[in-house]
């Protein structure tokens, strides 16, 4: 059984925990080697954009609607059909219920005969 496999395989969470601890320690060492001169709230922390004016926070943030734009554009037909099916009308929910009952009853009926 693969239950016991969970505790000994490379997928074991203890192993992964150790690995992440090692990675954290390494990250800490790299961080310690960084610049000491860095100070908060000075010119150093400002965003540098090739000398251009930095836009406001509102414009800088990419809104959720635009994330994965390409994915939705590629799958446009699938999404159009799907959103059309999600009408949000209660009556349609019951229609789906009836359709599913009809389909599965017929499947069981046919299997029972054959």
């Amino acid at each position: 059984m693969s239950i016991s496999g969970l505790s000994y395989s490379p997928w074991s969470p203890i192993f992964w925990l150790l690995a992440s601890v090692v990675v954290m320690i390494m990250a800490y060492f790299f961080r310690r080697r960084g610049q000491k001169k860095y100070k908060k709230d000075t010119e150093q922390t400002k965003i540098f954009l090739c000398g251009e004016e930095v836009p406001e926070a509102k414009q800088r943030h990419i809104r959720a609607h635009n994330v994965y734009w390409g994915f939705f554009e590629t799958m446009k037909e699938y999404y159009d059909a799907n959103i059309k099916a999600h009408t949000g009308i209660i009556n349609d929910y019951i229609i789906w219920f009836l359709v599913l009952i009809a389909i599965s009853a017929i499947i069981l009926f046919i299997v029972g005969i054959v």
């Binding site: 959103i83 999600h86 009408t87 949000g88 009308i89 209660i90 009556n91 019951i94 229609i95 009836l98």
Partner: protein, 118 residues
């Protein structure tokens, strides 16, 4: 099977009632009519339960002043009583929600009053 009512007419009535109820539920866009359809559906199922317990020529299962003879089954009557009260409770809650929907959107049409989709 031979004497009495032929062809299980009460069960056919149950089928007709449930069919009508589902037709109302899926085709009527008015939310009040939808709730009425659900009420008819509940009545159909209750009728089904109560017809299950009938015995030919039976009397009510109460011994007080009972005439001699067989009695009909008591359990379906109890189940029907329970399910009637449940249907009433659902009906009250549904109607109050419809009232709220009408207050907020000014319509009881299930297509016009919907806000969420997709």
């Amino acid at each position: 099977m031979t004497q009495g009512i032929p062809f299980n007419v009460p069960f056919l009535a149950v089928a007709a009632l449930i069919g009508i109820a589902f037709y109302i539920i899926v085709s009527q866009r008015n939310l009040i009519k939808l709730v009425m359809g659900l009420s008819i559906l509940a009545s159909g199922v209750n009728l089904f339960l109560i017809t299950l317990g009938y015995r030919e020529g039976g009397v009510a299962p109460i011994y007080t002043h009972a005439p001699a003879g067989i009695m009909v089954l008591p359990v379906p009557q109890a189940l029907t009583l329970t399910s009637i009260v449940i249907a009433v409770a659902c009906l009250a809650l549904m109607l109050s929600m419809v009232v709220h929907i009408y207050r907020h959107t000014g319509s009881t049409d299930s297509e016009k009053s919907r806000i969420m989709k997709g």
